[in-house]
């Protein structure tokens, strides 16, 4: 059997039904074998989109997403997506083509050191140098990508390895990795210590991050929170782990979080972090973060413990399994006063959004978006003000329905991630929220959407500038430079050019209607929303503690 056939068989064995890819010369043997299999190959229009789509597929479904790029320029194009998946711990397997082993190191046509380039931005990478290694490396790659703290694994495939014949009857596969044994069960002694602290606390808060979503611990987390009556805040990556409409939900913390919640973090006496890495965007000033709290951290990655914040009680383990143990060990306790007060305060301070102006205020748009979606609508966001407006105002109801590039903040993520999510959940309504800048970085993917009849709805919050950067310039340097998008195309016409329904929204009420109709039609739709240039508020200025949120721009 040829190496490429073995590769395809192995991919199938690992549950792969869809590959987002872009071909090239060295991949011809791969495509030869692929066309005889029933794996669905989605031809994207740029390799970066292939990686983001595989990432979106993984985040929406919890399964491993797979993408493919050719050697050299294909591999370098895919790297932004690898780094994006790495920062957000998304299980993605990235296949890249490589020149034949005999030519490696000779600067052959389209040769690049993919292993070297992706080493610092992936969880691991492999380069099988003989067809014998393919089976083992593929199995290991899927195992590594999807277990412990998930992440992207790159497999760099030299052309001859795909072409050579291999006798699979003599093949031995050893998938033991002596240095990789993730801890799943939290240490019982530490759990008991933590429960003790929780029982004695008067003002506890849970902060759930992306790790909670990845371990699918929503049910356990909620049960645990109910038992002790502890309110749940989340990071950007944790959005949806419990419904943000729930009475225990405190919404998002951090630089663009909820003011009441940020203040409560400064006040709390016990903080239980679940799968949250205390990133600077969530924590702001690490020395002033939760200064009065005993900090309990549950994380599957030991290296996250104590990395940025001093942790009093570390618990290494999978969040779901560990929380189950918490539930077993814990008696019902009651923090009703603190929780009730906090929730009430949060509700009172909830921004009362109602704007009737033209151009539309972004806050109004988010409100209409919320009215148009259902609990299982998957929204993806791009990066910038659009993302943070969504993060702040949009209430997510289910895990894996809010998909956003957190750690790397990759513009151009939203649209391809939405494509990937739509492939993972063909029946779901999928909505991509983009800025005009970020959308333009990947607008070519409208072709992929059209080609595959994906009913993705793209909503561009069009403020005709690079809003987030312009805002930062204004705030800190008092000027605006290189952020105007004066030659932005007519996005409705652009959609038309791709054969996609395009609409322009300018008035209150239109956006909601437009999205509802688009979902009903089950056809790809692009909605260009003319919004006002508006500041993103509230904001914690960099370096400040979380309770020092700025509510307006000119306040002292």
């Amino acid at each position: 059997m040829k190496g490429s056939k073995l590769l395809i068989d192995k991919l199938k064995e690992n549950g792969v039904d869809t590959i987002f890819g872009y071909p090239g010369g060295v991949l011809l043997p791969f495509y030869d074998a692929l066309c005889e299999s029933d794996i669905n190959h989605i031809l994207v229009r740029h390799e970066q989109a292939a990686a983001h789509a595989a990432d979106g597929y993984a985040r929406a479904s919890g399964r491993v997403g797979v993408c493919l790029a050719t050697s050299g320029p294909g591999a370098t194009n895919v790297t932004t997506g690898v780094a994006t998946a790495n920062m957000d711990s998304s299980p993605v397997v990235v296949l890249t083509g490589q020149v034949p082993t005999a030519a490696i190191g000779t600067d052959m046509f389209q040769e690049v050191d993919t292993i070297g380039i992706t080493m610092p931005i992936s969880k691991h990478n492999f380069q099988p140098r003989s067809p014998k290694r393919i089976a083992e490396d593929i199995d290991k790659a899927f195992y590594i990508a999807s277990t412990g703290r998930p992440g992207p694994v790159v497999i760099d495939l030299p052309r001859n390895v795909l072409e050579e014949e291999i006798d699979i009857s003599s093949l031995t596969i050893n998938t033991d990795i002596p240095g990789y044994k993730p801890t799943k069960k939290g240490n019982l002694k530490q759990i008991k210590k933590a429960i003790n602290v929780i029982n004695q606390s008067k003002k506890p808060i849970i902060v759930a991050g992306g790790g909670a979503i990845l371990s699918d611990c929503g049910k356990q987390l909620y049960e645990f929170a109910k038992l002790a009556n502890i309110p749940i805040a989340t990071t950007l990556m944790g959005k949806g782990i419990i419904s943000e409409y729930d009475e225990l939900s405190l919404g998002m913390i951090g630089m663009h979080g909820i003011q009441t919640t940020n203040r409560a973090l400064t006040e709390c006496d016990c903080l239980i972090a679940v799968g949250c890495r205390f990133s600077d965007r969530s924590v702001s000033n690490a020395t002033k973060f939760a200064p009065n709290a005993t900090i309990i951290q549950i994380d599957v990655d030991p290296a996250e413990i104590g990395k940025t914040i001093h942790v009093d009680i570390p618990i290494v383990g999978d969040a779901k399994i560990t929380l189950e143990e918490f539930i077993n060990q814990m008696d019902k306790t009651d923090n009703a006063n603190w929780t009730k007060e906090l929730i009430a305060k949060k509700r009172d301070n909830e921004e009362n959004i109602s704007y009737t102006q033209i151009p539309l205020k972004p806050q109004e748009c988010i409100k209409e978006i919320m009215e148009a979606v259902t609990a299982d609508t998957i929204v993806t966001t791009d990066v910038g003000q659009n993302q943070m407006w969504m993060a702040h105002y949009y209430k997510t109801r289910n895990p894996r329905t809010f998909i956003s590039s957190g750690g790397l903040g990759t513009m151009g993520f939203g649209l391809p991630a939405a494509m990937g999510a739509q492939f993972a959940k063909p029946d779901a309504n999928v909505l991509a929220i983009c800025g005009d800048g970020g959308f333009a970085m990947v607008s070519q993917e409208l072709a992929t959407i059209k080609e595959n009849d994906l009913p993705v709805v793209v909503c561009i919050l069009n403020n005709r500038y690079l809003g987030m950067v312009a805002q930062l310039q204004k705030l800190f340097n008092d000027h605006v430079y290189a952020t105007k998008l004066t030659a932005t195309p007519d996005f409705v016409k652009l959609a038309d050019a791709y054969g996609i329904e395009g609409q322009r929204v300018e008035k209150v009420g239109q956006l909601r209607e437009s999205i509802e109709n688009a979902f009903k039609s089950r056809e790809a739709t692009l909605i260009d929303v003319a919004i006002d240039r508006e500041e993103l508020l509230p904001i914690v200025p960099p370096g400040q503690s979380l309770d020092k949120m700025k509510m307006t721009f000119d306040e002292e």
Binding site: M119, P178, G179, A303
Partner: protein, 164 residues
């Protein structure tokens, strides 16, 4: 407080492992003072010894981040009082007179070093041992004029019955 630490790392012997480890130190702004790599008694396993400077928090992160690397099997900090540490140095010294030569040979003998080469104008000394001992000899030889010197990284093993 910044301290010197010796870290011993057991790794799978695969291409790129050293690059992974060196890359990790660069990317996370950890420091490598010196490094030595060699095979172990077990096939397919190598041992890397790294000397590094950092406070306790940095050391903890270095160990944790190293442990995350898939090909890293074990990582240990080698406590100074329970560790045998060895380094090799070759030092070429300016020694134009017989008097210089005999003094250098005497010092070398005291430190249990060896004379590896002699020419009319130079003498080359080979010494292995604890890095402090090597530095002490080098300090003694410096006034004569060191023309060239090379040192290996430190390698280390635990005293007594304990193994990595």
């Amino acid at each position: 407080m910044t301290n010197k630490h010796t870290i011993s790392i057991l790794v799978e012997n695969k291409t790129g492992v050293l690059q992974r480890i060196a890359g990790l130190f660069t990317r996370r702004d950890f420091n490598i003072d010196n490094i030595s790599v060699g095979k172990t008694s077990v096939e397919n396993m190598s041992r890397i010894t790294i000397t590094t400077y950092g406070d306790d928090k940095t050391l903890e992160q270095i160990i944790k981040q190293l442990n995350k690397l898939i090909e890293v099997i074990k990582v240990r900090e080698m406590k100074p009082d329970q560790t045998i540490r060895r380094q090799l140095a070759l030092v070429k010294i300016h020694a134009p007179t017989e008097e210089d030569k005999s003094e250098i040979i005497q010092y070398t003998n005291i430190f249990r070093g060896k004379i590896a080469d002699v020419t009319p104008k130079t003498i080359t000394v080979e010494i292995t041992g604890n890095p402090d001992k090597i530095n002490a000899l080098i300090d003694l030889l410096r006034p004569y004029g060191i023309k060239e010197m090379t040192k290996t990284g430190t390698t280390a093993i635990t005293r007594g019955q304990k193994t990595l």
